[in-house]
């Protein structure tokens, strides 16, 4: 038994308080909460979506980072555009993005979402999702490996951690 005994935990108030208090800036604390629960939208348009699925699966396991998938844009913080966007789809992507609450982040996953990729010469493919919505991170690959997507998520977390959160809220209003 290494843990403290029950009687030992009930201590005089001043002694109890000291080891359990942590001082920090409010921004840091809030960002820490936010980055530990980046919920992403299940938005798989093409091949990259399969790798997105595998990334959510047991081996790479995005859940470790508090990132779980949501089916509704209204509950998501992160839009991972996994796959090709066509002109026919473009309006809907914009709509989905607009439905997400602020603050929101976008990863363009795969060459198609970055710039059109393999399908740049095609008549029906949008050459990069940044022509429709703003993008925070570009993830190259065709498709990117789950490890790469994992890295991109960590990048998003880093970005969140560094943000002056209150300022951002003001901008949004």
């Amino acid at each position: 038994m290494t843990g403290p005994k029950l009687e030992q935990r009930i201590e005089p108030e001043e002694e109890l308080a000291l080891p359990n208090v942590l001082t920090t800036r409010l921004d840091l604390a809030l960002n820490w909460f936010r980055k530990s629960s980046v919920w992403y939208l299940l938005f798989a348009t093409a091949c990259c979506g399969i790798e997105l699925m595998q990334t959510g699966g047991p081996r790479t396991d995005l859940d470790r980072f508090g990132a779980v998938f949501r089916s509704s844009p209204r509950q998501s913080d992160l839009l991972i555009v996994a796959g090709t966007i066509t002109y026919k789809m473009a309006d809907r992507v914009r709509l989905i993005y607009n439905q997400m609450p602020q603050p929101k982040y976008v990863i363009a996953m795969g060459s198609c979402a970055n710039c059109g990729g393999l399908f740049t010469p095609s008549y029906s493919v949008v050459n990069g999702v940044d022509k429709i919505i703003p993008v925070d991170f570009y993830l190259p690959g065709c498709p990117p490996r789950p490890e790469a997507l994992n890295e991109a998520l960590i990048k998003v977390q880093e970005k969140i951690q560094g943000e002056p959160w209150f300022k951002k809220i003001k901008v949004a209003r």
Partner: protein
Amino acid sequence: MDAAQIHARLVERFAEAVLGFEQELIDPAIAVAAGRIREIAQYLRDDAALQMDFLRCLTGVDRRETLEVVYHLLSTVHLHTIVLKVQVAPDGARVDSVWDLWRTAEWYEREAFDLLGIGFTGHPDLRRIMMPDDWEGHPLRKDYVFSGEYHGITAERSDGLDAFGAPATDKKAAQARGAAAAAAPPSAEEPSATAATVSAEVAETTSPVEPPVAAEKTPRIDEPGESPSTGKASRLSPPTAFQPAMHTAKADPVEGYIQLNMGPHHPASHGVLNFLLFTDGEILSRVIPDVGYLHRGMEKLAESMPYASTMPYTDRIDYLASMFGNWGWALAAEKLLGIEVPPRAEFCRVIAGELNRIASHLIGTGSTSLDLGAFTPFVHWLRERETVNDIMEMICGARLTYNYMRIGGVARDISQQVVDKTRRWLDHFLGIIDEFDRLISFNEIFVKRLANVAVISPQDALSWGLVGPNLRASGVAWDLRRAEPYSVYPELQFDLVLGKGWRGQVGDAYDRFYCRIEEMRQSVGILRQAFDRMPEGEIRAELPRKIKPAANEVYSRVESARGEMGFYVVSDGTDKPYRARYRTGSFTSMSIIEHLSPGLMVADLVALIGSLDVIAPEVDR
């Protein structure tokens, strides 16, 4: 009966309506008069000795002076095939519809209308299928040039280079400067304008429904002038009001029914598929599938590059079963060139293909359970699939888009290490399938969701052109590995898995689901045999440096995880295909949903889509 005999019969019966016979083609074709196609098609379908009960593929080819409609017919009873061809004039092109002879033709004809501007007289619902309703021109026409802009989204690259990364030509540079950002390049103006008038005219005269008009109905990007990557305002712009962009009389509101839109972003819709639902409470009165949200124009791209360069694109036709895209394309080129593939390469192909079939069925069955609310089985399958991905990586270096096969063979040999690892995994995997069965397949709630839901009769399955496990679940013993054997499949033992009505009727959603589970067991058996029999030797045939097949036409087909995957390739003697056409299983499975849906519950629709295992890129290509 071979093609010559079929031709003789047609000549005997229709005399002057039979215009020609191209016997020298790999798949011989009979040219018939445009006005008589319906009559001839009906005869071919109904004559007892011919019984062409299956329309494999219907498409068009732009021959510049004329448009050609091509019908690939098959008799599953007599095992013979024939190709019919009809020539029509490009302006105001029109031919009789055969949609009621083979119901699958309804969607094929819509596709031919959309991409080539061919009109079909008597078609019930002739409107665009792949492209948006307000799209201009028909992309698969040879003279089609994309205007470079749609709803304010331009196709330019920010670095000013052209699509292939080369310095832009003067014309494009001028466009980049904004001189003519919205307007089509002058050379394109005339053809696209003609095509647009033609299509409007065709729609007016042939279709009983309203022609697709009212471009303003489509939701537009709200601020076309502003690039969202630069402007902050667009980030905050109000959401656009949503309206379904389906201009058809069918989609008009019906008194007493709720109109509901499902997709194109929907967690249970297997990619970007859209459905317009008419429901009376929980009961569906009609479901109209709307596809084309992932139409990437692969057929047009194939026309612009050498045969070998198309290989990576075929990975992406069906990314869950990329090997079969590779395989079909390689087979098409090999048939055109007349090359033999070395035996070891054939075994490599079979091994890679069957592994891929397992990987694909893992997602097919797993996502069915996920859609019906069971998450755990899906995660089990994802774990198993990671091992398949590892093996695939050892074989070809990629996890998903394999690009493994080459014209004349395969890219890399399969090493002993791979064989050992796969063998170990297969032993483990057979046990896991049993576990999966106990966990979900025989779970009472799950069974009740699928059994007796959306039953497809064998006649319907053939008429709608279903293939693969969906067709076999209806009790039709049709598998290309058996019926039209290719590669080394004749040497390998395996059983055809047919729907038996395991928990309900033959051809219900449960049969379709369980057929896939059983097929995985069969694939394990095939893999073990292939490992035992694999000979030593070369993995690639000798090829000319430049692949330039003689002018010919071929329809190569392989049994993919989603059934027959066909590649109709027209070669004109140059190093690029004149026309490439991909026939896929999901396209036809998608088209049957409208027929099956009346009377189903809304939740059954999810079960139906899951059990058909449709996948968006295969529908749209």
